[in-house]
Symmetry: C2
Subunit: 216 residues, 2 copies
């Protein structure tokens, strides 16, 4: 059982991740800009606690950030001093509305590399959960999509791959944090495919892997 804070946890992706982590046996705190919103969302999905973002990020094993790109820098500023030695998981996709079907990676290369700059030098940053459709993840259904997990901290990456398993998802290491660009870019392709190929939450599966975790 890990103590996990889900910052921005009142949004669709945050609530979905938090709900699956609760079901997986973890002690989850929902974070939001207002403690009222956090407490409401926590009650809704059965999380133990709700708090403002900075409080939700304090004294945790893992802090998961689930905010739109427009709130990316601001949210990391809120939690920077609180996270300490926790593993920080960034789920942010650098979409630039209204053209969300176009890949528009930031100059730094990826939102994950930007996040690295927002945290203290010894931060344990992981990037993950970009490709999973939130409205499917919140349901009690099998998700036909692998979760790519990136980090330069191998131990932290393995912890998040393990959390994916607890959430009934197949997590796969995608290598170094810089590789997060691939998953962030892919999200625009998936949005495009939803429209083009009549999908309700298109996903991806990696094929040919003989030593990967089994698909749950």
């Amino acid at each position: 059982m890990a103590r996990i804070g889900v910052v921005g946890g009142t949004g669709a992706l945050g609530k979905a991740i938090a709900r699956r982590l609760v079901k997986g046996g973890h002690e989850v705190t929902i974070g939001s800009r207002s403690s009222e919103g956090a407490l409401t969302a926590a009650a809704e999905i059965g999380a133990a606690h709700g708090a403002v973002n900075a409080a939700a990020a304090a004294d945790k094993d893992v802090v998961i950030v689930t905010v739109p790109y427009s709130a990316h820098a601001g949210t990391f500023a809120q939690i920077k001093d609180a996270v300490g030695s926790a593993i920080v998981v960034d789920t942010t996709v650098p979409l630039a509305p209204p053209k969300v079907m176009r890949v528009q990676l930031p100059t730094a290369g990826s939102a994950a590399i930007e996040a690295l700059g927002y945290l203290a030098e010894d931060a344990r940053l992981v990037s993950a959960f970009h490709s999973v459709a939130a409205h499917k993840l919140i349901e009690d259904i099998k998700i036909d999509c692998d979760v790519l997990v990136f980090s330069d901290d191998v131990e932290a990456r393995n912890v998040v791959v393990g959390l994916c398993g607890d959430m009934d998802l197949r997590g796969l290491s995608g290598g170094a944090l810089v590789n997060s660009a691939a998953a962030e870019a892919l999200t625009s392709i998936l949005i495009y495919m939803n429209k083009t190929y009549g999908a309700d939450g298109a996903g991806i599966r990696f094929t040919g892997l003989t030593k990967a975790p089994a698909i749950p």
Copy 2:
């Protein structure tokens, strides 16, 4: 039946693509820096013709460029004046050896966007075939990997999706040319997964698409 030139067609990917196009009933010309090498490769895979790259790119319906990133700009310079109104398909992945498991996209965003700058203004550029393992593609086996196809020219994109079908592959439109960054970046992830998860040519499949071409 289309007239197709495969520029850089003596390499592993070029030969594999050419061979499948020949089997799919197309008239294929292998291009290389030397006509001798081109003729040898053409004989090997049953292509109709072999020629130097510029000649292989002339008077074609489709010209497919299959060269390593180090030869990207130079090869496009060789064929720029020859391609005319042909559809030009760039397969180049901007790998930066020796760190091929790290995503290192060029400043322009992708090799495809760079290629756009190498061609005439009215060029019909498509980007595709990044994620397929050449050593599998050359065999007579089912390829468990979707081919992503990107272009701002919808008609040209559809032609290449059709060619994928002729090659016994599922081609999927990935949208605008700028989205090629996702497939180019993904290639480093696949190389990483080959090593990490014991794969001999890891691939990807898109899931949940109700209106996509059937998997052949």
